[in-house]
Subunit: 377 residues, 2 copies
């Protein structure tokens, strides 16, 4: 295929189901790539978006990566990626990795539409996953539980109930924005809705310093959480490993690392334990699928299992990848970051598993509000 | 001061004195900040630019950081920096760090013009450097020696001679773009123009893999180079430390690291030796002066001396900082990256030292071609 037109727009994004609650000015980029391929009499268009929880990448997409992609001629998603990365320097893994990942998502959407296959099936073919496609369902948990600016306990309780009602049996909530004592009460609310060991995870969003990290680890250890995520600064492997020394339950890391080089450093120096800990790298934020695959390869070579990877993202693209690559499971954002998060319209969680949509491409067309947003491009 | 208008433009940049020689499509951002301060009946304007050797940051400046700066109200460069960084997430130190650094440079230019002082004098006051300002001269070396696409030996010889003629007594050339045997001949050309120990440095631009790094280290060791710079991937601390084990002469690192978190990792795991090795962090690329100061503080706390810092950049801003902070020395780009590199018009290198211009601000107005470029904003 050849990419003949690229459109991009930055839009506001909310962490909350009610988008009127202030959410830190988050934005994301939406893109539409028009290809020269024609299906059903119309050009195939691939759609993508940048980020759940960081910022739009309009400038980098428009100025640096879209021009390279438009000039690349006939491509598939892998050769397109190589063309986009031409001349990029080693190091500096921030922002550009998200810009490239956004375009990469749209390239895969287009390629799978051209192949008339759901993306996970195209990837199974290309990446040699021999497991039958009716094994496509992936363990999934619901992500949410941001601190509400008013009546947090009431809102959090309602949110947990809404996620249960959607069929989820595992949940992750945010901590670190409130004092630890308050967060422990918030975790209690989540545990009441999702009782039992290893069903509630907590995400400190890289907010704790050394003291806070260790204090939280001690307080959380008896709760048998699913995992303790993004504890301290993502590059503070010293504190990360000190937590792992005193916290026997699973920890999760890697959401704010964006390259294979950083992944290897995390493994070398972060104290993670291959028998239980969780790797959160976000395929879109890590230069897209080709970049994500270099991370999986680097860590598999160092003794990690694919089952340790639970990609951050909470959207359909991560779900296809987790299914096709045989990863451990996947995040879903059923109530956050609308209209990007969660499953296709009408799709349900079954016994804790999510299924990628059975439509050509990523299946954004099965999410009415998201499809309508893309159509404005 | 209050920033009332911000203009930005992306422009092409060349590594070569002759800009018609292809140079990898490098670009940089130039910015002009108009303040509400008035001097000599005119508003004070601060100027800055992004990068020597990476890419422009138009999008991030226009979409994310300029709006925050314009909304910040009364600021000085430090409070302005805090306003620009508001809501930024931990990790992901690439691109945005350069965008923030670009605006930071212009903020310091404006602040020093308002104070009617050369920047290094303003910084001496603010940062408490008690050494007399007539100690302002800084050890400087000339950077250049990129591989020429045709007749490299002849062009390189001419370039080395031109740098000698400008009074430089130390030089750095690039290696790694040619096979090692050819690079050894290129180093010989540089050594002929700059004979003696520790007067020629080489910069592999992070291009070597593990094998190449170790092979080069063995071949370079007898040459008594000033230093061996940016050897392997900037985050491959394993290879970096294996080189340091077999290479007794100085190595230099840090140009492609952009945060205090990465600087600490380099120190912890990169095998650097505090008695001889060189730290290249670029103040503009590391979120500007406030970010650069966090790196200096973190590494001083770990036992490094300020004399180990030789900031990358090759321009007047780095020169002011090196002077005011009492750093070991500074890079200059007399023939590369025109019109940004090198000293003020008519200024000379004296006994291997460079002196920041004695004009208010950074002194860009003393570089005719650069001032003319900024005036187009």
């Amino acid at each position: 295929m050849r990419v003949i037109d690229i459109r991009e727009r930055s839009i506001d994004l909310s962490r909350y189901r009610d988008p009127s609650i202030p959410s830190g000015g988050l934005t994301t980029s939406i893109v539409a790539l028009t290809t020269d391929a024609v299906r059903n009499g119309r050009p195939v268009i691939g759609y993508g978006f940048a980020s759940m929880g960081r910022f739009a990448q309009s400038g980098l997409i428009r100025e640096r990566f879209a021009p390279r992609l438009l000039a690349a001629g006939d491509v598939d998603p892998i050769t397109a990626w190589t063309a986009m990365m031409k001349g990029e320097k080693p190091g500096g893994h921030g922002e550009r990795c998200v810009a490239v990942g956004t375009l990469d998502m749209a390239l895969w959407d287009a390629a799978a539409k051209i192949a008339d296959l759901p993306l996970h099936r195209l990837l199974r073919q290309r990446l040699g996953n021999e497991s039958p496609a009716d094994d496509a369902a992936v363990p999934a948990y619901a992500s949410g539980g941001y601190l509400y600016p008013s009546d947090d306990p009431g809102h959090l309780r309602d949110e947990m109930q809404a996620l249960r009602d959607q069929g989820y049996d595992k949940v992750k909530i945010k901590i670190g924005a409130a004092p630890l004592a308050e967060d422990l009460k918030r975790i209690e609310i989540a545990l009441k809705a999702f009782p039992g060991p290893h069903r509630v995870a907590v995400d400190a969003m890289n907010s704790y310093d050394a003291r806070q990290s260790l204090d939280a680890a001690k307080a959380l250890a008896p709760l048998k959480l699913m995992w303790f995520e993004d504890i301290c600064d993502p590059l503070d492997f010293d504190v990360q490993s000190r937590v792992a020394e005193i916290y026997d339950e699973p920890v999760a890391a890697g959401e704010a690392l964006f390259s294979a080089a950083e992944a290897v450093l995390l493994d070398r120096h972060g104290g993670l334990r291959r028998d239980r800990d969780i790797l959160l790298f976000d395929p879109v934020h890590c230069y897209g699928l080709p970049g994500y695959l270099t991370i999986i390869e680097a860590l598999e070579a160092r003794g990690w299992s694919r089952r340790s990877f639970w990609p951050h993202g909470g959207h359909l693209f991560s779900l296809h990848l987790a299914s096709a690559l045989g990863l451990g499971g996947v995040e879903m954002n059923p109530l956050s970051f609308a209209p990007f998060g969660g499953l296709a319209d009408g799709a349900a969680i079954t016994e804790g598993h999510a299924m990628p949509p059975d439509a050509p491409g990523i299946g954004f067309e099965r999410k009415t509000h998201l499809a309508a947003l893309f159509a404005t491009l």
